[in-house]
């Protein structure tokens, strides 16, 4: 991490944590400091240590692991094993116990005190008495636990000064110490985002599966679920835990331009806070919702958008894919790593300055700058520029035998057949399946020999099993929808939620919610749209692939696969 990005990460963590700090105000009149820092500063510095392995001095933390292996804060951090929420993980057969605020100063007695899946709990042996600040400091620096036992060598021993230790412990005390907003003793409240422009059909496709899950599968089943637990819900040991809670879903309908959505979201949230956003659909970029969620540390699970924020560091929104950007990326990978372009070949990228065109072009350009050899020529198409046969003729004659990336919609591509007639016809033409909205028959036979299509979903005829399972579920719930793509995404959210809410139990912390998503297995039979969705800590785009296909001639416009699902 460079000094600049480090500073940036630090500032971000701090600004976020100020909010966290506000959730735990000190008693009126009482002014406390932590190692000479205000509480808010101490939380910032603690987060830097816990999440990024960086000491307040800006140096990486130093530790010993496995007895004699030097470990630094750049190699591994507390988050790696105990997760961002502090609730601990099971990985490689090693159980990292919870170290969050709510668990530190109470004993861990049995399996039910270990948050997470039944499998994770089953790996728990023994127990431990409550930590005190002193015994916690001893454990972190010497590996001797609160009962005087030697802890596993896999827990690193940290060399920390007294001040650093104080900050670390202060941070742990506040990490997942109180249940997140949107949770009451009886209820977990979620919201889903739509806009005034969302059609009734699209709203139904989004909401009917979510509501069917909430009402029929979860809320109606609560008495049984709680009875089965015998009142002993894995709860993080909080005495006020009430068992599994009812779910409620608000629909947040945004009006007006996207630049006003942020303040609308803030107002809706203030009116009635929610634990997380589920699904959601909006035309154009998802940025306003994304930024609202980052700022307020609210998870946003799998919204229906092809225009996500593409970021390596943002945390709170989990997307299906990078959308259009991923298609641009795929075209660049195909041209550089699968299909080696002959030297001297020109690559010309055409796009209108629309959200879609820009995202495709950016995806291609970002990747091409890293992998491509040939020069890339951008040819933006102005908003008032008409695309007629002459346009194609001029394009062909100024770039003969080039690779053309036509990030354009079907109306712009209507006369594309002209290109094949030109003496200077291009060698290859890339178009986007999402931009064509799957209408491949619109591509005239004349250019089909030249066309390659980025295809970010399952191919026609693939995934019949997943489809039959999803259809079966919808039929059973008596759901009929017109927008099957949105419904398929909503259905997938319900399948993941079913498992995740069960595994969360009473540990209703937003960071833990995301931690459990990250711990999810690959989904190959649940997604009607994608061949495979996969998850991992910090992985925020679940679908990792995109096919490149060509089209057979004739009325059927048969899709012919030209690449693997994942290109490197």
């Amino acid at each position: 991490m460079t000094a600049a990005t480090h500073l940036w990460a630090k500032q971000l963590a701090c600004s976020l944590l100020l909010l966290l700090a506000m959730a735990f105000p000190v008693a009126a009149g009482e002014q406390t400091t932590v190692a000479g820092h205000s509480e808010a500063e101490a939380l910032c510095l603690g987060a830097e240590m816990y999440r990024n392995g960086m000491l307040p001095s800006g140096k990486p933390m130093a530790a010993t692991v496995q007895g004699d292996i030097e470990l630094t804060g750049t190699m591994s951090t507390c988050t790696n094993c105990h997760l961002r929420s502090g609730l601990g993980a099971l990985e490689g057969g090693i159980l990292s116990p919870p170290t969050n605020g709510a668990r530190l100063y109470v004993p861990i007695k049995d399996l039910l005190d270990i948050p997470g899946s039944a499998m994770k709990r089953s790996m728990f042996k023994g127990g431990r008495p409550a930590y005190s600040r002193e015994s916690l400091a001893t454990a972190l620096s010497t590996g001797v636990g609160p009962a005087g036992e030697q802890m596993s060598e896999t827990m690193p021993l940290y060399a920390l000064t007294r001040d650093e230790m104080e900050i670390m412990i202060f941070y742990l005390e506040h990490l997942s110490g109180e249940l997140s907003p949107g949770v009451t003793d009886e209820e977990i409240r979620f919201a889903t985002v739509v806009t005034e422009k969302t059609s009734t059909g699209d709203k139904e496709a989004l909401l009917l599966p979510l509501n069917a899950f909430i009402k029929e599968e979860w809320n109606a089943r609560l008495p049984t679920l709680n009875a089965r637990q015998g009142g002993k819900l894995p709860s993080g040991g909080r005495p006020e835990a009430r068992g599994y809670r009812k779910l409620a879903l608000d629909v947040w309908e945004l009006r007006g331009g996207p630049e006003t959505w942020g303040s609308q979201l803030e107002a809706l949230y203030r009116q009635r806070p929610v634990f997380a956003l589920l699904g959601g659909t909006a035309p154009g970029k998802w940025h306003p919702v994304h930024e609202f969620c980052e700022k307020n540390q609210i998870p946003c699970i799998l919204p229906d958008t092809e225009l996500p924020v593409v970021s390596e560091n943002d945390w709170y929104t989990l997307y299906f894919s990078k959308g259009y950007y991923q298609e641009g990326e795929t075209a660049a990978k195909y041209l550089s790593r699968v299909f080696a372009l002959p030297p001297g070949k020109k690559v010309v990228q055409l796009f209108r300055s629309s959200d879609q065109g820009n995202a495709l072009a950016r995806g291609f350009t970002d990747t091409w700058n890293k992998l491509g050899d040939a020069p890339l020529i951008d040819r933006p198409v102005a908003a008032n520029e008409r695309i007629d046969p002459k346009f194609w003729d001029r394009l062909a004659s100024s770039h003969p035998d080039a690779v053309l990336l036509l990030w354009l919609d079907p109306s712009d591509l209507a006369g594309i057949g002209t290109l094949a007639a030109s003496g200077d016809k291009p060698s290859t033409i890339f178009v986007s399946a999402t931009m064509l909205a799957g209408d491949f028959k619109a591509i005239p036979d004349a250019v089909r020999d030249l066309i390659l299509i980025t295809h970010p979903t399952r191919l026609p005829g693939e995934g019949e099993y997943a489809k039959s399972v999803a259809d079966g579920w919808m039929n059973y719930k008596k759901i009929t929808v017109t927008n099957t793509a949105i419904a398929a995404k909503s259905y997938l959210v319900t399948r993941l939620l079913s498992r995740i809410l069960t595994d969360m139990g009473g540990n209703l912390y937003r960071d833990y919610f995301l931690d459990i998503f990250d711990d999810g297995r690959d989904e190959t039979n649940t997604s009607v749209l994608y061949p495979k969705l996969s998850f991992g800590p910090g992985q925020r785009y679940a679908s990792k692939g995109c096919y490149v296909v060509s089209l057979a001639k004739g009325d059927n416009a048969k899709v012919v696969r030209q690449s693997d699902w994942v290109l490197y």
């Binding site: 692991v65 496995q66 292996i69 490689g92 890293k370 996969s534 994942v566 490197y568």
Partner: protein, 317 residues
Amino acid sequence: MKLAIAMICLLLYSSAGFAAVPTTAPSPNGVDSPARKSGKGFFGLEIAIAGNVLKPGSNAIDLTLRDRNGKGVEGARLSVVPWLPEKNHGVWEKAVVTERGGGKYHVENVVIAIAGRWDLRVSVSKEAQEDQAVFSFNVARKEPVSAAKAEKPKGNYKRSVHSYNIPNVTLLNQDGKKVNLRSLIDSGKPVIVDFIYTTCNTICPVLSASFANLRKELGKDAEQVQLISISIDPEHDRPEQMKKYLSRFSAGKGWDFLTGSREDIRRVLQALDATVEDKMAHEPIYLLRAPDSEEWVRTKGLMRKTDLLGELRSMDR
């Protein structure tokens, strides 16, 4: 690589097709010559097997093909199908044949599902000449963690000795360069392999920190040991991610992180007995091999640096 001739019984095969596999019981231990003529007498075939015997799992074999004059036959099309006559079925996996020149053919991914009597059905065609031969084997049960060679656990890890057939796959390293796994392993240096992924929680950072410590300990000799980390999350782990991951561990020359297609990675994991049902459920494993050796030391469990260094140095003997 040293190849030893195995316990083989070659049975002449009639031209009537595979349904009529001879029922003669195979000889127990390499009594017959491993070299025989094919059914119609067009070809002479000689078989050699890595590690002496066919074992449950993936095997590699070498076939030498000669014409009637004893001259090596090049450019023939070969297929090798493992067949369990007793149950009258084969295996899902397809054997992969690579021609090595001079009539030599190397066959990988010869998968044997269970212990018992197996036939290897070899079909050969060269221009108009088509012929077949069947080699029969008794495949013994898999030894429980190489009983003879299993050693007492050292520290907190388990140690055993194995032989593996490395599939001939080309993977991608952290620089986006294509790397042939077999060539990398056969680079003449001691090799240590582990299985990690860039967003792994608990064990990968410790495995990688151990590699980093080992390199530090070796100092200027660090490049004389080839470290290979193989991604078990190939869909996410692209060269860019892997490079970033390695930089956290100050990796340099002599440490390659490899990814590849799901299918290629699956073959590698299967061949090295490191298949994971799910990436979250993987185990801390190191595989160590001395240059030109056929033996791999396999350790399981997180180790101390001194233990790993000890294992490495014991390969120098």
